[in-house]
Amino acid sequence: MTFGLLFDSTRCVGCGACTAACKEQNHLPLPIESETTAYTWTVVEKRNGAFVRRLCMHCLDPTCVSVCPVGALKKTAEGPVVYDAKRCIGCRYCIMACPFGVPKYQWDRALPVVGKCILCADRVVEGKATACATACPTGATLFGDRESLVREARRRLETEPQRYVDHVYGLDEAGGTSVLLLAGLPFDQLGLRTDLPRHPMPLLTWQVLSRIPNFVVLAGAFLFGVYWITKRREAVAEDERRLS
């Protein structure tokens, strides 16, 4: 079973309990910043009168996992996208590539690592909800397995269509995410990208990478062939010179 979160912007009152619980759970230093950083993995932002949480979307086929040269980022079977700081070399390709702008870097450290929400992977493995979902007083952040969260989101859209924009954000953005969002405002007004492809981003680079073995064999054979022909031509020319 793969788990995730359903965040309902219309139920969020912006109290910030999720941020505080996240800090405590993940032993992150204070203060609580106004936007996500390597030390603040989730925040609640107020945009156009509505509250919206910022956190890792935990893509089903994550960009960060595909771009990391050393496999420091991984998608676990339970859903969280986790990070192994000991492997990371600090190339920051994950920060550059993430379609949701999630991974952040410790710019102020001599031995920096990446910081991002890891969906409380340790708790999730034990069958517990994430710290933020547990702390949420209004039920705006709901933890559960992704399939039932999708069903719940659809049920809300059906029963209260006037309350919501008719879209479950994360259902198929960038191929789908484990974190889903509902809102009363168009999602771009909440600062979320609405121009993302519906397919997983890693397809874009895999289309090229998967062709490399074949390319190496064909181009290698071609180059050897050219060498063989031009050498032979030279040898023939040499012979003809000698004969004449």
């Binding site: 040269p69 390709y93 550059m96 590539a97 102020d108 680079t205 990478l209 290698g220």
Partner: protein
């Protein structure tokens, strides 16, 4: 004025002082970078995680080394042996380019001492993984390809012969690795279709990076030959530079058409009208760096004129550098929501790395047989005679090194 500036290069004086000061500031910046972190030394941020060190040091460093595989393929695979005299300076450039890329990476990586992690922790789905392996393998190949020059100077016949015996597979490996590496730097940006501006994002980015690297690499060979003549009186003859320039025109022409095609597919003129910041930067890159050098070199008269040749080659290199900077910086700014300008410390590191490369190149030209077999003095100011026996003789001598 120009010639006065460059003739002073080898003598102690102004440039040596600049070099020493740059070196001292570079040491200070290095200390800041590694004790205070990237935030203190650079203008990078979570919104703009890749800056000058990736855009210039890595993307341009690798690209301008492309002359090496182009020329080794021309001479050793297509067997156009009259170009043999060009192989050595381009191999040297390629090798130095890659060493400097690695130095640049040491500054840019958050934890550079873990650079070897790519050897044991594999992720074949990552373009960066491909890039890392190409850097490692091609640097090794370049070192082996260049080694005979050093062995020749040290009169070590045995090792030199061993390398020459495996030269063909070595050259082919080098060409394959370079092709992969140049294109993979473009592939890095395939995964950000929503971040990279439409003037630069295209699904054929890997191919464009490869073609433009060949053009820029050839331009670099011509530019270097010019500087070497100014500084040491060692250079390539016009009868070699002219066909090189012609090849460059063809490559730039093909590249220009491909660029226009992909821009037409992405939105065409609508991307340039009304003029935007990105639009102007593109026009600067494409007009000065692609159209102008092609226009200059089309008349045969201009190709026969050394000044026209060098100016055009210089513009091609400029256009190449602009392209890489536009892809990595200009094209990424709008989506990031911030303007990025490198900090003075980032600039110092990049300048110092370039200076280090130039100094090493100068030393190598001085002490190793780079520009011709027998180090022989050439008149500094005398115009090169296209029909002199020099290059032909050198080519023949070089040809004798083959099997």
């Amino acid at each position: 004025m120009k010639s006065g500036l460059f003739r002073r290069l080898p003598r102690p004086g102004f440039w040596q002082v600049v070099f020493v000061i740059l070196g001292l500031v570079f040491l200070w910046v290095t200390a800041v970078r590694f004790t205070q972190g990237l935030g203190a030394a650079t203008n990078l941020s979570d919104r703009f995680p890749w800056g000058l060190w990736i855009g210039f040091d890595v993307l341009c460093g690798v690209g301008l080394a492309a002359g090496a595989f182009t020329l080794t393929a021309t001479v050793h695979i297509f067997n156009l042996e009259r170009f043999e005299p060009i192989v050595r300076p381009t191999l040297l450039t390629g090798f130095l380019g890659y060493i400097l890329v690695i130095v640049g990476l040491m500054f840019d990586l958050g934890q550079p001492w873990r650079i070897w992690h790519a050897l044991i922790f594999w992720n074949t789905h990552s373009v960066m993984f491909e890039v890392a392996w190409c850097v490692m393998l091609y640097t090794t190949v370049l070192a082996i390809e260049f080694a005979p020059v050093v062995f020749e100077r040290l009169r070590l016949e045995g090792p030199r012969r061993i390398i020459l015996a495996v030269r063909t597979p070595l050259v082919i490996a080098g060409v394959l690795l370079s092709t992969l590496h140049q294109s993979s730097l473009g592939s890095l940006y395939l995964i950000v279709p929503n971040k990279l501006h439409a003037l630069w994002y295209t699904p054929i980015l890997p191919f464009l990076f490869f073609v433009s690297a060949v053009g820029g690499g050839i331009g670099m060979v011509i530019v270097e030959s010019y500087f070497s003549r100014r500084a040491f009186g060692r250079h390539l003859e016009m009868d070699l530079l002219e066909p090189l320039a012609r090849t460059m025109v063809v490559v730039l022409g093909v590249y220009g058409l491909l660029r226009l095609q992909s821009i037409a597919a992405a939105g065409g003129l609508a991307l340039l009208i009304p003029p935007t910041y990105e639009g102007w930067m593109f026009l600067l890159e494409f007009g000065l760096g692609v159209l102008l050098p092609v226009a200059i070199l089309l008349p045969a008269r201009m190709r026969a004129d050394e000044r026209g040749l060098v100016v055009a080659a210089f513009l091609a290199v400029f256009g190449f550098v602009m392209n890489r900077m536009n892809v990595s910086v200009t094209g990424m700014e709008a989506a990031a929501g911030v303007r990025y300008l490198p900090s003075w410390m980032e600039v110092v590191v990049s300048l110092a790395i370039v200076a280090l490369g130039m100094a090493t190149f100068a030393l190598a030209v001085k002490y190793l047989p780079i520009f011709d077999r027998e180090p022989r003095p050439l008149p500094i100011a005398a115009p090169p005679a296209p029909d002199s026996a020099g290059p032909a003789g050198a080519a023949r001598a070089a040809g004798a090194a083959g099997p």
